[in-house]
């Protein structure tokens, strides 16, 4: 009998991708909740890795008419010692319930694996750059120019010679402007001609032609065409993210860890919006320096605390390397809130005059120790200062964080999609 072998291995895979998307779409709210919950206990590095989530089956159930209870009869294999008429203890109430594969009990939770993209998408789905930042985004768009056809007016530098000449040629042909060789031929004939009547004839003809040449210019102003240019707004597709951190002795590992988590989230978030994201790490004690990532988080440092030093450093770097017109600038500052009292005025001024005007977004994250006592303490000097600035209408976002688990809610809170122009 004929047998066919078909090689399906090269067929497009993921035939069930659409079903999967439908499922995710339907379960969106639930999955999103689960993603947030599961990301709380995760290392930030792993946030991007996707992974397993568990959602309640509520609304995703596929109910069937199922029966339960009643008298049950069953036949089992493997009898060892029972004889007819024996009585067996009931296993504690639960009964023998088959654990169905993804079905079964509708109260069951449902576990499955999300891919990296799905995870990040769901995680950041309801987040958005604040309106404030978006307004600025529009303003800082740089302008490019592009060719946009031809115009009848313009600067002489933009004359399009080829277009002008071809129009002139067309006009000359249309108006039958005598060609040069035509006149030359007549003149040559005239020079050799002895016949008086013919000469006169030729002369009038020549004169008529020459007059016509004069009347019809080689290039008329109406022929002239200029190259036209249009200016178009070019969105800035790159961003720089400044990470400012106080590394003075009072910052514990725990605090740095919190800050790191926040920075990484911000990075992931910006990365989704911009093609190119650079990170600048500035750490400061009473002096500020730009360092690499490893030093930033792990390098030893000691000294007092001057926040303004970091802002000065940032301002310098912005001036030299990141023109605000070309770059979207984001800054996140983490600190335990300590600052020299004498520094407050300088810091405030720097922020209002230099830093905030060029930033799309400036977030201040005050990190505290794991035990929640930060909330009982009076506000730190930096917090007090920033709060005052914010009340004056400066676009500052600020939050306090003391537990790992709070990072995600705080981040989400900062970038939540907002309907009105409320301030964060």
């Amino acid at each position: 009998m004929v047998m066919h072998i078909v090689d399906r291995r090269l067929n497009p895979g993921s035939k069930s991708l659409e079903n999967r998307q439908r499922f995710l779409r339907r379960a969106k709210a639930l999955v999103q909740g689960a993603v947030k919950k599961s990301s709380q206990d995760r290392d930030i590095k792993d946030v991007l890795e996707g992974g397993e989530v568990t959602i309640p089956l509520d609304g995703m159930d596929e109910p069937r008419f199922r029966r339960e209870g009643g008298t049950r009869d069953m036949v089992l294999p493997g009898n060892k010692k029972f004889v007819e008429g024996d009585w067996l203890q009931r296993p504690n109430q639960s009964g023998a319930k088959g654990s169905g594969a993804g079905e079964g009990d509708s109260e069951d939770a449902f576990r499955f694996v999300l891919s990296r993209e799905e995870f990040v998408d769901l995680f950041l789905d309801d987040l958005e750059l604040p309106d404030l930042a978006k307004r600025k985004l529009a303003e800082t768009e740089s302008e490019g120019i592009r060719r946009a056809g031809y115009a009848t007016s313009g600067s002489p530098a933009n004359i399009s010679i080829s277009r002008t000449v071809s129009r002139a040629l067309a006009r000359r042909v249309a108006l039958r402007r005598p060609r040069k060789d035509e006149i030359e031929a007549l003149e040559a004939e005239l020079a050799e001609c002895d016949d008086e009547t013919r000469r006169r004839e030729l002369l009038t003809l020549l004169e008529a032609l020459k007059a016509k040449v004069k009347r019809i210019p080689f290039i008329d102003p109406i022929d002239i065409r200029y190259r036209r240019f249009e200016t178009v707004p070019k969105p800035v597709a790159q961003a720089v993210m400044f990470c400012l951190m106080d590394v003075s002795g009072s910052m514990s590992e725990h605090m740095k860890d919190l800050a790191k988590r926040f920075y990484m989230l911000l990075y992931v978030f910006l990365k989704r919006r911009y093609k190119h994201v650079e990170i600048v790490f500035i750490r400061h004690t009473d002096r500020a320096e730009e360092v690499d990532e490893d030093t930033f988080f792990h390098g030893p440092a000691s000294g007092g605390t001057l926040v303004s030093s970091a802002l000065v450093a940032m301002n310098d770097i912005v001036r030299t390397r990141f023109r605000p017109a070309d770059w979207n600038i984001y800054a996140a500052q983490a600190s335990d809130g300590d600052n020299m009292t004498s520094d407050s005025a300088v810091t405030g001024r720097l922020l209002t005059d230099k830093i905030l005007p060029v930033c799309q977004f400036f977030a201040y994250l005050e990190v505290g120790e794991a035990a929640n006592y930060t909330f009982d303490m009076p506000d730190s000097s930096l917090w007090t200062l920033y709060e005052r600035l914010r009340n004056d209408g400066e676009p500052l976002s600020m939050r306090k964080v003391s537990e790992r688990g709070e990072i995600f809610p705080v981040f989400q809170d900062l970038f939540k999609r907002r309907t009105s122009q409320e301030r964060v």
Binding site: M1, M3, H4, I5, V6, D7, R8, R9, N11, G13, S14, K15, S16, E18, N19, R20, Q21, R22, F23, R25, R26, E52, M60, D61, E62, P63, R64, F65, R66, R67, E68, G69, G70, T71, R72, D73, M74, V75, L76, P77, G78, N79, K80, F82, V83, E84, G85, D86, W87, L88, Q89, R90, G98, A101, G102, S106, F110, R111, F112, V113
Partner: protein
Amino acid sequence: MGSSGERLFEGADWDFQTLQRIHDACEEVARKELGLDVYPNQIEVITAEQMLDAYSSVGMPLFYKHWSFGKQFAFQEASYRKGLMGLAYEIVINSSPCISYLMEENTATMQTLVIAHAAFGHNHFFKNNYLFKQWTDADGILDYLEFAKGYIAVCEDRHGRETVERTLDAAHALMSHGVDRYPGKKTLDLRAEEKRAGERRQHEEAVFNDLWRTVPNTKAKSKAALTAERRRALLGLPQENILYFLEKTAPRLAPWQRELIRVVRHIAQYFYPQGQTKVMNEGTATYTHYRIMSRLHQQGRITDGNFLEFLQSHTNVVFQPEFDDRRYSGFNPYALGFAMMQDIERIVKNPEDEDRDWFPDIAGKGDVEGVLREIWSNYRDESFINQFLSPALIRRFRMFHLHDDPAESQGIKVDAIHDERGYRRVRRELARQYDVGFVDANIEVVDVDLDGDRRLMLRHTTVKGAQLNETDTRRVLQHLADLWTYDVALTEVDGTDKVLKEYVVSPRAAAVAA
């Protein structure tokens, strides 16, 4: 090709020529020795990922889109990745040609096993078993699925995905009650079905259904009111195929919704025989591959090493954990089926006195293949076990019967064991576990209140006191009410018509508006 000597393959590698050789060798044994009669084979080589894909669309090569399959896929993918679940070596589809999927990872030995198992064992069963003959149309199924997929996609474009999804959700919830349990006048012809679908809709749209006249009738006639008897007769009640009833009589369904219900119903019907023949189907396939592999080994066409490799997978497949084993999850259909087929072989060839008493018809008859083919064609799990489970096998499995009456405070009673007094009872109870009549709840549409609020009335006749799970039942009834668009009432009664519980569910507003 000679019947002995020549090796089919060396080592674990294979290519398409190898598959062809394997197929031909298996076919020779299957036809000449076992006398199998199969649909033409089509063997498709797929990857593990495609196997997962196939899992989530109930094993069919093409299927309409629905979120529940995505859910299934997500679940299976998760357990596969964690290593909780191995993938099947093959999937075989009851169609003509009979399509078997082979995984590319399988070794040559495994491919031989799978071809013998699926392309001959299952294939023969599909083609010859009376249930499959009666209820499925192997020639038409793939075309019908193609039609269904296309039709549903068109509906989604035309009526919106949400609406279509709602209808399908509801139909899926009732799927287990969308099959005809008793054969009707004609066998299923899915090809004609597809062609007729369009014409039927046009016709029904054109014809006015007098049952649902909302404008008051002339006085004389309306008051003469259909008597209850006549009304039920007109509606074809009682009706246990709820989906069929909805398709034909639900008052406010759009024609395309009826067609969707019909699609779901046909698919449920297509799978109906599979649920009733698990033990037999797997038993047949396992017995077939065992015979074929042994013969190939005997002929020297596969090496001792290959044969040992085969035996190892075979042993895994037919492993039956005992009831107190952590791995126990009911009878393994492969194990039970294979054991019974081998046992029948023994009875036919070398019966003991006991077997002669129990199976006078087949004991010592000699023609093993003939007897087995006859059995494969004419039984389903329930009747098969009821007839052919022998005392010897009951002893071998050390089967025992437990009776758990919740009213009994002493606990669970051991009602019968593998002894002279118990054989028949054990056998009867085991057969009953496979009886669809007991497995599915017995729910019927009994009446429609045509004079009043058009309430649809269902009745669940309980068996042995098992009632419906309330949460799920409410949800299913909600779906049913949404399709019916008026109230739906379900009454649970016991054998003496005593009412145990009543449900009444009203349709959701969105469904009524639709």
